[in-house]
């Protein structure tokens, strides 16, 4: 072993370990670590890798189901979509890096999540991204949007995976910490799933992909601490993505997978070589020996510490079947990628690293994983939010409210964003961002089956009431899949919160997870993968709690896909589900009355189920021209979406007992707007009676205007306003010098 460096208290603190954690570590080791070992242990025990604050709560999620092949614990979740096909997907955050360097931060986020998916044997077939920025007037917002969107497009477009969906929101709560959550969905066959557990003793470990540089050293610890005004100093740790290498890495890995040479494979994500080697060894119950001199290096004089902690992108680690080394190497050489045999599996259960003839690290693997700290952090319940009585709100002209809501930052068209994403490469995209559907739809290649995908979160609900908000996030995801004609199967998630050491924040986390878990159970919509991003806080100000959900569903026959672009002259509009006129924490309350943090709409999961199943039945019976779930902005905004997507007029009637704001803009849950020709009404009503759901006639399709009661507005004009906001905002000159 290298001579023992003296590890000082400062060094321990710099590595983000508490003195208790350090003491426990030394006990497990039976000695003090050297600096390399301290670095390795500290990243393994960082929040990012160990999930120390969240693990005990994540176990509340239901994670199994009829179609679940692999739940959380692997690089991504795996579900069965029939006929021997499986879908592998996950969502991940790249919040901190994207705030520091938006282009590269977002780009490497996309790259990282794709590796999690193709590591398991799937060819990535779709990308989504959920973006949350500060308020439009904040001096940094415009350049952050520009950089993040360019980075997502720059990476995904080059690799050639369509970016088919996502969300973009603006809120002052993200002024100091933006959120960039990327999701990747891949496809493979049941007998072509690869796992990360290293197997056997004496098997070769192959390093492939880009060379290792000094980038991102301590990225994992950085993602586990708050920002402060010194964050500028942490800047050089941001990594640069190379999508061209990623593209070759995908092709080369898939080619190697087809040979049957692979025993285990794992991407190098956060904490690079450290976490990939340790996790592979731990899962397989083996040890690992690495000769660091053989690691392909981009820079000279790299130390063991730097090599182990580097977060250089586009790298993978593979355990090979004995005797396949030469053939395996050739595949990577053909794709002009770096490749090296860097070590072997052993029976010692230890991670042993050598460098220039010396052993520079010799650690037992199990304690780094299984014995990592697990905290049941103190938390307090968010105080109940007051209920907003709609009687307290003034009456306003419904049409001008509608126009205001449809052109507000959260609702306005995101064309400026998604036109920069290649949505159609691979040739199987049916519905992407622009298509007027609640979920993106991609064909399972050469079949008549389709995958529906969506990403959702309504942070204003979660903030006001984490438990109800958590349920709502899952319910909305499920509803969006239903409204596209899919059978919802499972979700991935990305739990973005502030500092878990603050009991209020921890309370948001715990209750949101519990709400999500309850909804997942009730809707049979298990969690198969996910990610936690904590410490999204700047100078003590935390982001609104934002548990993003990525939902995936299957459309058994693409002829039965659904959307909200097909409304025809003379169609009738029906509202499915009861309306109480709930305005608390609604878009209306926030945008029109500047009122926040009232109790969000209650979520009745039994009603969700019943209404959703009815919609599926109606779609599959071929009864509907258009269907849309109700969410932000309620009935009127859903109708406006339909009118814009179909480019046709719609008139909605007023309600005889509810006031206009509650009726048109209330955000009661479990509701859908359905559109059909009069000739099919009888059939629909019969189905509704049988299913015991509430169907209410609300209006008609036709003409050129959108009409709410007696007020009206031209659909072309509304479309223009909806299209204009983001374009104008982004094109308006760099007024703030950013």
């Amino acid at each position: 072993m290298t001579q023992a460096q003296i590890i000082t208290d400062e060094m321990v603190a710099e590595h983000g370990l508490s003195s208790d954690e350090y003491r426990i570590l030394c006990e497990h080791l039976g000695r003090t670590p050297n600096l390399n070992e301290l670095g390795i242990c500290s990243v393994m025990w960082s929040e990012h890798c160990s999930y120390k604050s969240s693990r005990i709560h994540l176990s509340k999620f239901p994670t199994s189901g009829e179609r679940v092949i692999c739940g959380p614990g692997e690089n991504a979740g795996v579900i069965d979509v029939g006929d021997g096909d499986v879908v592998i997907f996950k969502m991940e955050s790249h919040n901190h890096p994207s705030f520091i360097e938006p282009y590269q931060g977002a780009a490497t986020g996309v790259g990282g999540i794709m590796r999690d998916v193709f590591t398991m044997g799937a060819r990535p077939i779709a990308l989504l991204n959920a973006l949350r920025f500060g308020e439009p007037d904040h001096p940094k917002t415009r350049s952050l949007v520009t950089g993040v969107v360019a980075g997502i497009g720059g990476y995904g477009n080059c690799v050639g995976v369509p970016t088919v969906g996502g969300e973009v929101n603006f809120d002052p709560g993200y002024n100091g910490n933006i959120l960039v959550n990327a999701m990747c969905v891949g496809l493979t066959r049941t007998d072509h799933i690869f796992y990360s557990a290293a197997k056997g003793v004496g098997n070769s470990i192959l390093y492939v992909g880009a060379r290792t540089g000094r980038d991102g050293i301590h990225g994992a610890t950085m993602a586990s601490t708050e920002f402060d005004d010194d964050s500028e100093a942490k800047r050089p740790t941001v990594q640069v993505g190379d999508p061209f290498t990623e593209k070759r890495l995908i092709e080369a890995c898939l080619e190697l997978m087809a040979t049957g040479n692979i025993l285990a494979i794992q991407d190098m994500g956060a904490a690079g070589l450290t976490s990939s080697s340790i996790e592979m060894a731990d899962k397989g119950g083996v040890g690992i020996e690495i000769d660091l001199d053989r690691v392909p290096q981009r820079e000279t004089d790299m130390t063991p510490y730097e090599m182990m902690l580097s977060e250089s992108q586009e790298r993978m680690l593979i355990v090979l079947k004995p005797g396949t080394e030469t053939q395996s190497r050739q595949i990577f050489t053909k794709w002009e990628l770096d490749v090296a045999l860097i070590g072997k599996t052993t029976d010692t259960g230890r991670l042993v690293l050598s460098h220039k003839g010396e052993t520079v690290c010799d650690l037992p693997i199990a304690p780094l994983c299984d014995l990592a700290p697990k905290y049941d952090r103190p938390w307090i319940e968010t105080p109940p939010a007051p209920v907003l009585e709609y009687g307290d709100l003034p009456d306003r002209d419904a049409v001008s409210v509608l126009s205001q809501l449809m052109s507000c930052p959260d609702m306005a068209s995101k064309r400026w964003v998604w036109e920069q994403y290649d949505r159609h490469v691979m040739g199987d995209t049916l519905f992407a961002s622009a298509s007027g559907s609640d979920a993106a739809i991609v064909r399972l290649h050469d079949s008549e089956k389709g995958l529906a995908m969506t990403s959702d979160c309504t942070p204003r609900y979660v903030k006001a009431d984490p438990f109800t908000g958590g349920k709502q996030v899952v319910a909305e995801s499920w509803r969006n899949l239903i409204a596209s004609g899919a059978d919802p199967i499972a979700i991935t998630d990305c739990l973005n919160f502030g500092n878990p050491e603050n009991p209020q924040i921890m309370g948001q986390f715990v209750r949101a997870v519990e709400g999500m878990a309850e909804a997942c159970t009730a809707l049979e919509f298990p969690v198969v993968s996910g990610n936690v991003s904590l410490y999204n806080e700047t100078n003590g100000v935390a982001i609104p709690p934002t548990p993003t959900v990525g939902g995936v569903g299957l459309i058994p026959d693409l002829a039965q896909r659904a959307g909200y672009f097909g409304a025809c002259e003379g169609d009738s509009l029906y509202l499915l589900g009861p309306t109480a006129g709930w305005l608390g924490s609604s878009l209306y309350a926030r945008e029109i009355e500047a009122m926040r943090d009232h109790a969000p709409p209650p979520v009745d999961l039994e009603l969700e189920r019943k209404n959703g199943h009815f919609v599926t039945e109606a779609i599959r019976a071929g009864l509907l021209h258009a269907v849309h779930d109700l969410s932000d902005g309620g009935l009127a905004c859903a109708a406006a979406d339909l009118a814009i997507a179909s480019q046709i007029g719609i008139s909605l009637e007023t309600h005889d007992s509810l006031p206009n704001h509650g009726w048109f803009f209330g955000e009661d849950q479990a509701r859908y707007l359905v559109c059909l020709p009069a000739s099919r009404l009888e059939k629909l009503q019969k189905l509704a009676d049988k299913a015991d759901v509430l169907l209410t006639f609300v209006g008609e399709v036709g003409g050129k205007d959108i009409t709410l009661g007696s007020a009206r507005m031209n659909v072309t004009e509304l479309t223009r306003k909806w299209e204009q906001w983001l374009l104008e905002y982004m094109e308006s000159k760099h007024a703030n010098g950013s």
């Binding site: 360019a150 497009g153 720059g154 477009n157 080059c158 690799v159 050639g160 190379d242 999508p243 061209f244 290498t245 593209k247 070759r248 794709w335 002009e336 998604w418 036109e419 920069q420 994403y421 290649d422 949505r423 159609h424 490469v425 691979m426 040739g427 199987d428 995209t429 049916l430 519905f431 298509s435 064909r443």
Partner: protein, 220 residues
């Protein structure tokens, strides 16, 4: 019709092109790796879309220096058909098999959308199934599709009727709204829009099918 698709490291519409060719010809194209120095005789070579070499340096620049390009050139010199789509168009201008260059889009951003094209020539092997002056809907997806040629070159191009497709609403700043051009001999075409993404399978009008059917017809 025998066809081949060239695969560069970074090509990402190679499978899409192969799929479209298989749909129309009933036969799978040969997929040819860029390092190959020769290939068996085919009727049509497709240079697919994507980001060969990551579009680093200039789009198409490094791919144009790939070993296979010699075989592509030989094929073209003998009168064989070559279609470069998107990145393939960039490879063809970079290898000087077509005149001009494709510069960064005027708006400096990547653009992905369906655009309306005017068929300027319906008497070429690539467009004989379209009606003269027809308007067709084909998607574009590129960062560098802004066609530029020096004035004399452009004049020659127009004078000899080498422009096959023009944008109706120019998305990228291309001179004379140029979306696709032919070489002088009329057997090599480059175009930025992606006909293989408009095969009528995904709820689109299928206007790209006629592009491939034209080629099938031309080969006979």
């Amino acid at each position: 019709m025998r066809t081949a698709v060239i695969v560069f490291p970074g090509s990402n519409c190679d499978r899409d092109a192969a799929h479209a060719l298989t749909m129309v010809t009933g036969k799978q194209p040969a997929m040819i790796w860029h390092r190959a120095t020769e290939m068996s005789t085919v009727d049509l070579i497709v240079l697919p879309g994507g980001f060969a070499y990551g579009d680093y340096l200039r789009p198409g620049a490094m791919a144009a220096r790939s070993p296979i390009l010699r075989a592509v050139r030989d094929h073209a010199d003998k009168g064989g058909l070559v279609a470069g789509i998107c990145n393939g168009f960039q490879v063809l201008t970079e290898s000087k098999m077509l005149p001009g260059v494709l510069m960064r889009n005027a708006g400096l951003k990547f653009i992905c959308k369906s655009v309306e094209l005017k068929v300027a020539r319906a008497d070429t092997p690539f467009s004989n199934k379209y009606d003269e002056a027809a308007s067709i809907q084909i998607p574009v997806a590129h960062h560098d599709g802004n066609y530029f040629a020096q004035a004399d070159e452009l004049e020659r191009l127009e004078g000899q009727g080498q422009v096959v497709f023009r944008y109706c609403d120019n998305p990228n700043g291309s001179l004379n709204d140029i979306a696709g051009i032919l070489n002088e001999a009329g057997n090599v075409l480059g175009m930025m829009p992606h006909p293989e993404r408009a095969m009528g399978q995904n709820g689109d009008q299928g206007d790209g099918q006629l592009f491939f059917k034209s080629l099938l017809d031309a080969v006979g």
